[in-house]
Amino acid sequence: MALEPQQLKNILFEEFPGRTRQIETLLNWFGTPKEKTPPTIFIHGNRALGKTELIKRLFKLGFTSRQFSFLDCRVCYSIEDLFEIILNDLTGEQLSCKSINDFVMNLQEICEIGSETRYMIFDNADVLWDLFSTLTPALLTLPQWIGLNVCGIFISQAPWEKFRMAVGIPEPWQLYFPEYTRDELIQILMKSCPDDEDPCFYKAFVENICNSFYENCDLIDFFRLLPDLFDKFVEPIQEERATRNDISLLCNELKSYFNETLDKLYLQDISAANFEDQLPQWSLYLLIATFLGSYIPQNLDQRYFATKACEKPRLPRVPKKQKLSHDSPAKLPQQLKGPQSFELERVLAIFQSIYYNHRNIQTIDIHQQIESFVAHHLVVCTVPYDRLGSREYRCNVSYHCVKQVSRDIGFDLSKYLDEFDYN
């Protein structure tokens, strides 16, 4: 059953610290059940700021189940699904609905039953654009268009400007969820305090964590960091090396675990297997060849890859007097430009130049290997597949990775990449 407004407000204030203003605004906009609401509300803010949770909780406590429908747009893959889920939520029946016209007809029927406002909540609303290009404008204008007491609520991480793609879309009422302040964050994290733990002690722990991670972690990260770190935090006490009063000692000891925990959080603790074993050696050379093909400009090929016979020092052509215009940007070093695409023939030539034993490798093997590189996203094909003529590729592997590969197979990469001097 729906709660009284004041009671609802108190519960929400208690559960969502730092969101008082947003709760009040929303409750003001909604008013009493039969009052007209803003036709569309757009809620935006960064991730992990309580947008979805707050709306979910508010509607669960403050409204009856047939009054609203909540839809996570990311788990919806067709318009029919989307309409059917909404109608199902609002009526409790399985209705089939193929188009927006059907949807509107059904909606009208629903609204005739009672005069309360019906809410349609779209979480992750930015996905709606990908579903169908005219769907979002239609949903935004829907309340005006049919003149019913219906309210659409769009929750998104992107600001409204991203939605204003078509001309003539009515502007919704916007509500912004700002970042939590440090104190609010501590207040929220205190909710994770174990039942049998002293809150003051736990607060000291949380404050210490917040000091270190406030700048770069969001709430979800915090919730995932805390259990592990708290275990480490109380470890000295369990080993009876410290008491609960030695907060500063505990904090100091905890610091040594930060790196490890962060690595775990960002999945950096998973190392690559010994990859020398995982690919044939020649295909590692081929991978390096694709990397070189992507990062060495074609006019330097002769300098780097030519065999002795035709090694004629050909200086790069002196550019003619360049007109200094403000439009053309200064010439960027190669590694800042990112990988360039190359033709297959070029990579074959480079491969022949850098791999000593290339005569043993059949061309068909090389072709196969390149295609399997493409399938594994190690190399990207930059020409659409329907163009059968010349294929062009681009290397997708980082310098770091190639460096490690070349070190392992004993290939001197620095001979070819003299502009790369980082690390």
């Binding site: 893959y77 995932r224 999945l267 998973i270």
Partner: protein, 670 residues
């Protein structure tokens, strides 16, 4: 062409009641019994090999499979996250990241094993997702999840994605999001196979947004490396068995190339080995002696006729044997003239060969342990160590592993170790020999020798501990006894050194004898497949380009059709005197693509399309002169079809140099 006919002879289907697919050898002089036996031996050998491979597959990734099963078992236990009780969305999806090799077939087999094992325990539901079928979410939903979501009694839903990197990231992102959305209702476990281990976890970081990555709670699992797998495979298939066909140096290199060098494919290794086995039995009449147990060999001797014996006499190793007997002219003469005498020697030769193989395997095992031991003692670089397959490769090359300098280096290093540790090494050797005592004959002497060494090392060790005990008890008398103790310790040190030197000397002789090259044995030709690898190359590393050129250029010979034959015969009769090769003629009855190919051979670097079309029209206009005139549109259509085909095959390519011209991409005749 000759290869084609050769191939078909191998694969003659065996019809019930008909003769075996093997033909009588020795210019038809082989008895049909011998041929039958040869064929039966071959079938047995193949079945035995298949069993070994199957066994290998089961054992090779056993630990990884059981790890994965445990991982799945331990997910969604209630005890997890007991300290905190955050809202549902902070639970991450349990994900197993399985770093596999690039061999797709093997990965499929591996995951199949995993899924079978998982289904054994309880009613887990397992779904395989393949990047080929999952190009968008609707298809995934339609194919897999409509019915799963309806399932009620679901223990765990395990989703196996073998080729993680091949997925379109956006699709998989949505899918992961969907999984985590349903996670509170269905316990979902993800299994991602990462084949490009070079990048480690990078494919996940680079292609997927952080908000999706953090929905996963991954744990990494590694499969055995290809080198370790290769070691297992080689020792199971080629080294351990004393009574099976072995391969010579070239064939071994080829097999290694298939598995670890160029192709990284187990199935190619297996097929090549099978092919070699088949070829060996097919061409070698003496192969009936290869796989037979020593006890049963007498029955086989009856199958040998004088041609067989003559063939034995022709073997190089036999000739060397005869030469070694030259100082006993009577025996040498008997060897050359008396068939029965040669036959009576055969069991001994076969027996010696079997013993050689068994002892070789033990000695190789010793080397492996010696390497590991030295690595621990002297902190060797792991990369410096040679793996088993590399050692075997050295052993197959002349002059064999026993005389390789690597063994000498190992033995030299053995002298450098702390002498007290020698006991450990001896213990390992003794335990290896002990397990072998029952199976291998003539190893008892070695066992006793090593056992004596071990006893000696223990005695010295006991001597060392005794004085130290007495020093403690008699602390007051230290000054008096100090000098005698020092002397004693010095003596013990010398004893140790002497022991190490003795062991090293013994090992040197042992390795020299047992790791000698296989060709030092008489009649090794009966056991080693030493054919030219071009036969294997023909079958497994085909030269596709030349096949295409042959098909297009010599289409008459290739198809062997009547229509072209008749005409070409007539033509060649007329121009018999000329040097004109009838095969180079362009006939209207040829296939269009073939005509175009032949025409393009007459061009230079660039081909004018207009000219090409004209000459094509010229050729095919002869085609149906009597019946009807060719429609111009038809000609152009046929031209374009053939033209595009050549382009696709890679014989011509577009050129930007000249308009209306295409460039030739392939050069040289067959």
């Amino acid at each position: 062409m000759s290869d084609l006919t050769k191939g078909s002879a191998f694969f003659l289907p065996k019809k019930p009641g008909e003769r075996v697919p093997f033909e009588p050898l020795l210019e038809g002089q082989e008895s049909s019994n011998a041929t039958h036996t040869r064929y039966d031996d071959y079938i047995k050998a193949i079945q035995y090999l298949e069993k070994k491979i199957e066994n290998f597959l089961l054992t090779v990734n056993e630990s990884a499979i059981s790890d994965l099963c445990n991982f799945v078992k331990n997910t969604y236990n209630k005890g997890e996250n007991s300290i905190l009780n955050p809202p549902n969305r902070f639970y991450a999806l349990p994900t197993a990241l399985v770093f596999t090799g690039i061999d797709k077939e093997e990965n499929t087999r591996f995951f199949k094993c995993v899924s079978q094992k998982l289904q054994q325990n309880n009613f887990n539901h397992i779904v395989f997702l393949n990047s080929m079928d999952c190009t968008d979410m609707k298809r995934i939903e339609k194919q897999h999840f409509k019915h799963i979501l309806g399932l009620k009694s679901l223990s765990k839903l395990i989703i196996i994605i073998q080729d993680f990197e091949c997925f379109i990231p956006e699709v998989l992102e949505n899918f992961i999001y969907l999984c985590s959305h349903y996670q509170d209702r269905i316990p979902i476990v993800l299994m991602l196979g990462i084949t490009t281990c070079i990048r480690g976890i990078d494919p996940l970081h680079e292609n997927y947004s952080y908000s999706v990555v953090r929905l996963l709670k991954p744990e990494a699992f590694y499969l055995q490396t290809q080198k370790a797998r290769c070691d297992d495979l080689v020792s199971q298939c080629l080294i351990e068995d004393a009574k099976c066909m072995k391969v010579g140096e070239k064939t071994y290199e080829f097999l290694l190339d298939m598995f670890i060098g160029k192709k990284f494919s187990l199935s190619l290794f297996v097929s090549s080995l099978k092919y070699a086995l088949m070829h060996y039995f097919y061409i070698n009449p003496l192969s009936i002696l290869t796989t037979i147990e020593p006890e049963a060999i007498h029955s086989r001797l009856d199958l040998l006729n004088e041609n067989h014996v003559e063939m034995i006499r022709m073997q190089i190793s036999f000739r060397e044997y005869v030469e070694s007997k030259l100082h006993q002219p009577a025996e040498a003469r008997q060897l050359l003239c008396d068939d029965y005498y040669v036959k009576s020697l055969l069991p001994t030769f076969c027996q010696n060969m079997a013993i050689y193989h068994q002892r070789f395997a033990i000695a190789l095992e010793f080397i492996i342990f010696l390497q590991e031991f030295l690595q621990e003692c002297l902190n060797y670089d792991v990369k410096k160590l040679k793996s088993k397959y590399e050692l075997y490769s050295i052993a197959l090359k002349k002059p064999g592993l026993g005389e390789n300098e690597y063994i000498q280096i190992l033995l030299d290093d053995l002298i450098k170790i702390d002498p007290k540790k020698i006991g450990e090494l001896l213990q390992i050797f003794v335990s290896i020999l002990k397990t072998m005592l029952d199976n291998v004959e003539n190893i008892k002497q070695e066992y006793e020798d090593f056992y004596q060494f071990l006893v000696r090392s223990k005695e010295i060790e006991n001597d060392l501990t005794r004085p130290s005990a007495s020093t403690r008890s008699a602390a007051t008398k230290i000054k008096n006894k100090e000098s005698t103790i020092l002397q004693k310790i010095e003596k013990i040190g010398d004893d140790y050194k002497q022991l190490v030197i003795d062991v090293v000397n013994y090992l040197e002789v042992f390795f020299d004898e047992n790791l000698r090259h296989y060709s030092t044995n008489t009649l090794f030709e009966l056991f080693y497949y030493q054919e030219d690898i071009s036969i294997l190359e023909c079958a497994f590393v085909p030269k596709i380009r030349s096949a295409i050129h042959a098909a297009l250029g010599l289409s008459t010979e290739y198809i062997n059709c009547n229509c072209c034959m008749v005409e070409s015969d007539d033509e060649s009769n007329e121009k018999d005197d000329n040097d004109w090769d009838s095969r180079e003629q362009i006939l209207s009855t040829h296939n269009d693509t073939s005509i175009l190919y032949k025409l393009h051979l007459q061009c230079g670097k660039l081909i004018n399309v207009r000219d090409w079309l004209d000459s094509f029209e010229n050729v095919i206009s002869k085609e149906n002169l009597e019946n009807r005139k060719l429609n111009e549109k038809e000609i152009v259509a046929r031209f374009i079809k053939g033209f595009e085909e050549l382009k696709l095959i890679g014989i011509i390519g577009s050129s930007s140099r000249k308009t209306d011209h295409f460039k030739r991409l392939s050069w040289g005749k067959l």
